[in-house]
Symmetry: C2
Subunit: 520 residues, 2 copies
Amino acid sequence: MHARFVTSTLTGSARVIKAGHPRAASLAFTAPAVRKFFHTSPWTLSVNAPEAANTPPTHSSSNPPMAFPCVDQLEQRTQKFLQSFDGGPEPSYSNPVSGYSLYQHNEPFLLDHGGILPKFEIAYESWGELNEDKSNVILLHTGLSASSHAKSHPANTAPGWWEKFIGPGLAIDTNRFHVICTNVIGGCYGSTGPSSIDPKDSKPYATRFPIVTIFDMVRAQFEMLDSMGIKKLHASVGASMGGMQSLAAALLFKERVGKIVSISAAARSHPYSIALRFTQRQVLMADPNWNKGFYYDKVPPHSGMKLAREIATISYRSGPEWEQRFGRKRSQPMTTPSLCADFLIETYLDHQGERFCLQYDPNSLLYVSKAMDVFDLSASISAETALRRARNTLRLQEGKGSSAPANAATPPEEQAAACSTTVSPEKQKKQEQQDTPKAQLSDLKQGMSSLKDVPALILGIQSDILFPVWQQKEVADCLREAGNKNVTYYELDSMYGHDAFLLEIVNVGSAVKGHLELKE
Amino acid sequence: MHARFVTSTLTGSARVIKAGHPRAASLAFTAPAVRKFFHTSPWTLSVNAPEAANTPPTHSSSNPPMAFPCVDQLEQRTQKFLQSFDGGPEPSYSNPVSGYSLYQHNEPFLLDHGGILPKFEIAYESWGELNEDKSNVILLHTGLSASSHAKSHPANTAPGWWEKFIGPGLAIDTNRFHVICTNVIGGCYGSTGPSSIDPKDSKPYATRFPIVTIFDMVRAQFEMLDSMGIKKLHASVGASMGGMQSLAAALLFKERVGKIVSISAAARSHPYSIALRFTQRQVLMADPNWNKGFYYDKVPPHSGMKLAREIATISYRSGPEWEQRFGRKRSQPMTTPSLCADFLIETYLDHQGERFCLQYDPNSLLYVSKAMDVFDLSASISAETALRRARNTLRLQEGKGSSAPANAATPPEEQAAACSTTVSPEKQKKQEQQDTPKAQLSDLKQGMSSLKDVPALILGIQSDILFPVWQQKEVADCLREAGNKNVTYYELDSMYGHDAFLLEIVNVGSAVKGHLELKE
């Protein structure tokens, strides 16, 4: 097998030059001392190889083997899990959720791509008093991996993910508003997701969970609002994926959303952010412990999750921040460079991965991040979705079974038509015209035109790589072109990248407060 | 184990709201049809789940299991490798290198971090005639994973990685210049690297290969030039890692480098690019087949390599290019979204990973990408390196053994001093002063001051994420501030990101040609 890397193989017309009497270049150490060494002592006389202590010495090699404590650590965690199944102590893991309320929906719920949830639950938390006519509600949507715990409260005193944005007098003023934050369906912090039990066989759904969309998440939320008797929101507020939900809510239920706040989000995911999420999913799915999603009674894919989070963290922050915070500092400057975490930026990523790898359900990461990729407010997509919903409903009425085939929602005859080589020149031309960026933008504008009467705050961060600021500009432009006279668009020059919405309490907070409280 | 994702667990002060008579929201499909279905047909009546064909039906679940052909594919490749070890047919793999020449260096070579190569080889290719006084040589340095095959020639007619930049009348004019391109030490395309045989025990080095630096690569190249009797280069030319080598060559051998061309490179790696390479290494090292680098007679870590390349590809290109090239197009628009490659951008990344995963030695990726991280032209780093070289040489002279301990090059007494808590306030203050960005920039300027007499072309791409354009600006500024009167600095507005140096034949080519041929 070695020959596939042709390191020491001469092929073709190779000529060989031997180093006869190499001229000593200023810093080239081919000195007599080195030659002498090679006829005397082996490297094992060398001092100070603490990290290689567990590696048996290989006296015969020219240099000592490297140590890989980071690889050992992953293996040790796997072993710890395996021991726990043998009746040993449970490995410790984080449980960041408690003290939430639960909405139970006991009717079947048809999802946008044809899957069905026989029933579902939504975990939610709330702050501030609901007024008498239930008109002061703010529905707060979360980012990908957040729970409903946006703010501490008596039942869970841990700080929430928007702790300093919610409270009396703060950006979302709990003296004025009743704030409800939910965990999305597909997630794992109390709402129904892949780790939930499928009522059909009382086993976790795992990857038998159906594909879920941002619109599905929002429709489920509004089922909950219905049951609470909340007819109209004062505002739909969210950042990142939450900012997508915020727009989706107004699109689906425009009469029921008073205002929109959409921070660091987009009207449709662009290929670069899809690429970033794709690699995270692939890395996770390549972990043998992922086991196609069926790991709930086995060792979880902790290694894949750690790696996925490391990649995600790169997309959440920015170069300028890290330049300032870590620069080129190394964790142990006096040691030889190592292939495990070495520079401070590497130990930071390692730490972020460690923190997350047992905190969030890997399958939820797959489904929820995919929902973000698929998100698109374009008119053609909305029309397709409406058609699919109607067709699936009809098929169920006819008793033809679930419309949730594994990877294909379209009847074979339609697929065949789509793949047919006999597309008419007119149709081909029309398709090509639709494929231009200009036509796609026009499609998006049309899809968002119904949002013309909802006042909106659109906020972007200039250093955001995942949701670059041109995407928020696109949202604002589409709204304005639809005739929306109440679009506020801000760009922040924060160096915190995508995560700025969690960190820029004053800059983000003021914009949110102003928008929520301004009389229009 | 399931309880760690608290999906269906009520904790704390949870209140439960049941969906009594949910108001039918405009698009919420909890219609009678759906309820009816749940009392009748199972999903297995569903039409058209072609990709799930190999998955045994699970009649008892609410939805069908998803298919994961991308995961199956990885497993199938592993099985194919395993079969090949049982005497079956060898799996096919790419062998992109042939027809190179080989420089053999049969003297021990001491590396910057204390490792030793008892001997080494450099694969190289050349184009154009060497003139009589050997003054028309251009040394071309490669990026991370490139071979010496920059241009086709009779012994290897495949197009090279700079095929359209090298030739008569082209950017590097072979009517004027003798171009030599080498594969770096640490690589795998003919030069000595981790997949080479350690002469001490006749086994591949694997991760017993010592840490190698950009300066080591360049010193090895100049050993080769010595043996060829080439005293001075007309120019040292390179992009990406090659642009680092280009600068390093002039710094180490300033009398021997006539001109510098450094494209899309940096004087020191910044934390964001270190982070991007770190995740690639971690993903690769997490592949169980990597086996701490000892895979040469086993299944190679093809899965980890594929994933690493997918991540790398994200850093090599740009959002605007992908927006234009792929947009939001899906490979099979009529199917339900899939967790394997689905959008065109995903199939593109998948393809890039597939192409690369058996083409380049995984251990080489680790060592060479690490060399890029460690690269830093700052004066303090150069001084440390010089000290280390002197110390290691001395230690060898004293017969104390190799100075290449696994992960630590500093004697224990010095490490202890470095970790000591009794640092004097003065020393602490001095250290803090050195740690400011301003002090670090001053350190870099000092380190590059010796380059003041070498004409330099510094070229950057505005859409480059891996080596952002401010890094090329930094190089140009440092050279100019050192008093260099012949610094040409261009920024290109190409949308191809870091890879622009491979694609922008006219824009990059003209700059290179102008710089190489201008009389100064």
